[in-house]
């Protein structure tokens, strides 16, 4: 299997897991609502909903980048000549990659430290925090890989593929 296909599969698989965590968030909230209505109590549903939401966000980062749905200000980019544009694309990809690596590095470090010092959630769920933090660590690592992937594409002079899919309205706000 080529590296290209492996990478695309990685982003896709992470997106599927993220989508499952979205359903998980919904399930946790519904569980706490029905629990209150029917008078049974499941410990820690609020915290679990938050963990699921965090995992969904971080694991979807790379896929969202590839689909061109992360917001950036393209006003200047769109109004410059091809050479300035290329230089600006290089700069913004490199700077973006740097920030993403920073995030991946410290997110992983956080999960690792939580594991080492056996950090437990303060809430009623009493979860060892490294477990949910793993989602943030893995997701931001895949995000950094995806940005490096894009930077390479720009270096090779390819048109960045992370442009919004035409004809699909931005329904972001």
């Amino acid at each position: 299997m080529s590296i290209r296909r492996a990478l695309d599969r990685l982003y896709g698989a992470a997106a599927w897991v993220a989508a499952l965590f979205m359903i998980g968030t919904l399930a946790m909230i519904l569980l706490s609502v029905t629990g209150r209505l029917l008078d049974f109590h499941v410990r820690g549903t609020d915290a679990y909903a938050g963990y699921c939401m965090a995992a969904a966000a971080f694991l979807a980062l790379a896929h969202t980048l590839k689909r061109g749905e992360h917001i950036r200000v393209t006003l200047i980019l769109d109004h410059t000549g091809p050479r300035t544009r290329h230089a600006l694309e290089l700069w913004s990809h490199a700077a973006g990659l740097l920030c993403a690596v920073l995030l991946a590095w410290f997110a992983t470090r956080l999960a690792w430290q939580s594991f080492q010092f056996n950090d437990i959630s303060q809430g009623t769920d009493a979860t060892p925090l490294w477990i949910p933090q793993l989602g943030m660590a893995v997701g931001s690592m895949i995000f950094a890989i995806a940005l490096a992937d894009e930077l390479l594409a720009v270096l090779r002079g390819q048109r960045p593929r992370h442009r919004a899919v035409d004809g699909e309205p931005v329904r972001s706000e």
């Binding site: 909230i29 915290a47 909903a49 966000a57 992360h70 740097l98 995030l103 329904r171 972001s172 706000e173």
Partner: protein, 432 residues
């Protein structure tokens, strides 16, 4: 730290944003640089802890749920049902079916948290239907662009959740505070249509069909699903039965049931709505993560406090401050999206607002109305993008058609300033 560094940092941030770096990453990078350069604390570890805390907070879970609800409803026949239910009632008003744009957006805004989604969902049906009946395109598009922004002001509202989480204000109260201002703005938009229709009597096509009162009433059955959904979501928040998060989850289930009842729920639409919502949420979450850390970093540097002291020393008074902010936001809104605007505002000027004695709920609604203006100001205005995607018209032309809506929003801000009760009266009467 002096004002030179403060303004230097803010300028650097805007330069980075302008250079095309993804907004969330740019916020994160500036936060890290500020922390490393101007404080003695280790930036990286504080960053990871802050971002983790912000991304896993329970209050925020309302946001992905409302996004998902919007994505589901976008794929149902809800908007064409609303057209069928509303149109017969509006044929007698000056401007006739143009009012479907405003009332449709107002009603849909009560189940949708987003301006662009409201605009896209209602426009999907009104643009072709009104064109078919011979309504002039300029007024159709202008009123749609303006009324679509009500998606932000009328609860549920994504931008209010973002504001509520960032400013630590009750989201439920913010939601309810947006109801009357939303109705006020809708009324102003309808007034615009009436005035336009009276000035251009020949431009409005004749009513297509005459219906009796009974027929009108019967057509209204199409509105039942959306009314039920509004009752479920807003009713449960207002009566205190559910928190904003729980109401959002109920809304997702309600929308799925509605879609299934309409036969619009296939595995494909379910998957598309789920992935669409996941990506939208992910995009917003990256901005929120970056801004959470930037807020912390700026707080350590004392930047917002310095700015507050400096602004206080200017002696602007409440009116001067708000007026200045509105002008600043309108300019900023030409280039930035609303969510980034709100999180940056909270990161930098919340202490200024508190020091000036401005109520944070009132300010939240004020900010939302100003962000609504940003939705229809070029070059970056999301409603303009949506309409451009649907009609293929040029952005400046669409913006010009929506210009009256912009001025009506400025007028609405004036009214909200003169009569703050429009915002604060209802939340004070909430249960719980």
């Amino acid at each position: 730290m002096d004002m030179a560094i403060t303004f230097g940092l803010i300028l650097a941030l805007f330069a980075l944003l302008g250079s095309g770096i993804w907004i969330g990453l740019a916020l994160l990078g500036v936060g890290w640089l500020g922390m490393e350069m101007f404080t003695t604390r280790a930036g990286g570890d504080a960053m990871a802890v802050t971002i983790w805390g912000a991304s896993s907070s329970w209050t925020l879970t309302a946001l992905p749920m409302f996004l998902w609800m919007g994505e589901i409803l976008f794929r149902t026949r809800l908007s064409s049902d609303m057209f069928k239910g509303l149109a017969p009632w509006l044929e007698k008003l000056p401007g006739r079916l143009l009012h479907v744009n405003v009332i449709g957006c107002t009603i849909f805004a009560a189940v949708s948290g987003s301006s662009a989604a409201t605009c896209a969902t209602i426009g999907k049906i009104t643009l072709p239907e009104l064109k078919k009946r011979g309504y002039p395109e300029a007024i159709t598009i202008g009123t749609l662009a303006g009324a679509g922004t009500l998606g932000l002001l009328i609860p549920p509202s994504i931008i209010m959740i973002v504001y509520g989480v960032a400013a630590e204000v009750s989201i439920a109260k913010l939601f309810i505070a947006g109801v009357f201002p939303g109705i006020l703005l809708a009324t102003l938009f309808m007034g615009w249509i009436v005035v336009w229709a009276l000035l251009n009597p020949d431009a409005v096509p004749p009513a297509t069909e005459q219906t009796s009162f009974g027929q009108k009433l019967y057509a209204s059955r199409h509105l039942i699903p959306v009314v039920l959904l509004i009752t479920l979501v807003l009713g449960s928040i207002y009566t205190g039965v559910a928190t904003a998060t729980e109401a959002a989850a109920l809304g997702v289930v309600g929308s799925l049931v509605l879609a299934a009842a309409q036969g619009a729920l296939s595995w494909n639409t379910f998957r598309e709505s789920l992935f669409g919502a996941t990506r939208l949420y992910c995009m917003i979450a990256l901005i929120l993560a970056g801004s959470a850390f930037l807020t912390l970093s700026m707080g350590y540097m004392g930047l917002p406090r310095h700015l507050a002291e400096w602004i206080a020393s200017l002696g602007l008074g409440q009116f001067g401050l708000l007026f200045g902010l509105m002008i600043f936001f309108i300019i900023l809104g030409c280039f930035l999206d609303g969510i980034s605007m709100v999180v940056l505002t909270i990161a930098v000027i919340q202490p200024t607002i508190v020091a000036a004695g401005i109520d944070l709920i009132w300010f939240g609604v004020f900010l939302v109305v100003v962000v609504e203006m940003a939705q229809i100001t070029p070059p970056v205005g999301f409603n303009l993008f949506v309409i451009q995607g649907m009609t293929g018209k040029q952005l400046p032309w669409i913006a010009r058609t929506a210009l009256p809506a912009f001025f009506l929003m400025v007028a609405a801000v004036g009214l909200l300033y003169a009569f703050p009760g429009i915002i604060t009266w209802l939340p004070q009467r909430m249960v719980g």
